[in-house]
Subunit: 149 residues, 4 copies
């Protein structure tokens, strides 16, 4: 039986870091980043991951699929402010399910954790059908990444 803690495995090699400078227009009247903008930073991190590891949105699209977000979660620890250069760490969590799971940690300029989060994506084909098993292109990618044999 697969236990839950085995089902989601962090793969240290499958990690990407991306820096972003906080924009004036992302800060609210309290002078801090409005909480909803962190979802954009997660996307920045996820996209950087995709470019580095060959599984970008466009790679997915070329394979005939899209990968809509079905769940996103964000926990805020510290505020980011205008002008801060934040570091977004994106980690891939392996799962046997037909899903893509990323975890995010955003660090402030002092290296302290400003925010953590997670997104879950599924596979949808061109007809809009949810895929219950991993598409071939994704199995191939996992094989190349050494996640399956």
């Amino acid at each position: 039986m697969t236990k839950r803690k085995e089902a989601f495995k962090l793969i240290p090699e499958l990690t990407t870091e991306f820096e972003t400078r906080i924009r004036f227009n992302e800060c609210d009247p309290l002078g801090i980043v409005w909480h909803g903008h962190y979802i954009k930073y997660f996307e920045d991190g996820r996209e950087a991951f995709g470019r580095k590891h060959g599984v970008s949105y466009l790679d997915v699209a070329e394979s005939g699929f899209s990968t809509p977000i079905v769940k996103s979660m964000c926990e805020h620890k510290l505020s980011l402010r205008y002008g801060d250069v934040a570091r977004i760490k994106t980690e891939y969590f392996d799962t046997p399910a037909a899903k893509i799971v990323f975890r995010y940690t955003i660090y402030d300029p002092n290296g302290d954790v400003a925010c953590t989060g997670e997104t879950i994506q599924v596979f949808v084909d061109k007809k809009g059908e949810l895929q219950l098993t991993n598409p071939k292109f994704y199995e191939d990618w996992k094989r190349r990444a050494g996640l399956i044999s």
Copy 2:
């Protein structure tokens, strides 16, 4: 010869008003609406115009065209703040050219002018070709609106 002041005519009947409540997430660290968000308010006004006068984005799309913005301009007079209910007046400016011209006036809760602006749109067909004359659906709309006979 058509003089410029005749070429663009304000048609008082072709005016729409739309109210919007300023969101917290639209305000910047100075406590006022970040200037770029006014372009969204112009779109809110233009869309309300389209729904009222039967020339919405979806009407245009069904006719096989899109109407990308080629120019937008915004002049700020007063600030809007979180919680303000602003009124967006959208006015149609008639022109013989194959363009759609709207002018916008945004009023603050006191009825004072916060901002004025203008957008110019052109017609592009499904192949991406710029139309040098008005598409038939738009000529028909102008006829129904009493702008041409």
Copy 3:
């Protein structure tokens, strides 16, 4: 001992509904609302709740506090599209902790659930100190709302 299911109680009277029309600029190249914009809709719902029930952002600010979001979560079931009029239901969840918990359900034009979500807010005073117990103004509000005696 307080059990978790007692700790968070849905108060049916403390519910608000708010309608929003999906904007063109909120939709992505897939033609659906980009997932991060749902956080704005949650804020629209929360603000409508605050106005209706007398516990708005400005009420909170006048009492000398701010209520930053420390956690937000969003689960997507169905897509919303440009032009859809969506209905945002915001429900208050009572908790004895010094937190404000809202749950959100967004319905598509057919009345089907497009998305559910939750936000958790804490109280921070003007010096930026996290409050470990409910501020007096909030206890008063809960008393008026019949949540405590």
Copy 4:
């Protein structure tokens, strides 16, 4: 008499280039950048200019002023798409008036002009008063930049 063409002078040394990668969430259902987002790119360019030339938003704020945008204009020539790396050129236009004028040119990945634009900013002090002459800090900056003697 000062002629208009003398009043606004392009200063070639006062130019900055900044690259930005077009985000998925900045593209609309037509697959292109929604026109309102260019105002953000202009801000990215202006901020890069401020950091390079020592006249950033924070420099201005430390001097006791803010510089709200009073006019912005944007003309679109070509579309930008998701994944494009665009180049934003920001040019300073000198004027004797108490204003800051920037012109922007955004290039697509082929080096073709996607968009041009302009912003005009004024000086407002901490009491919210519009300054009719350049504040001392700005005169000093212009002197250091060789614009005045």
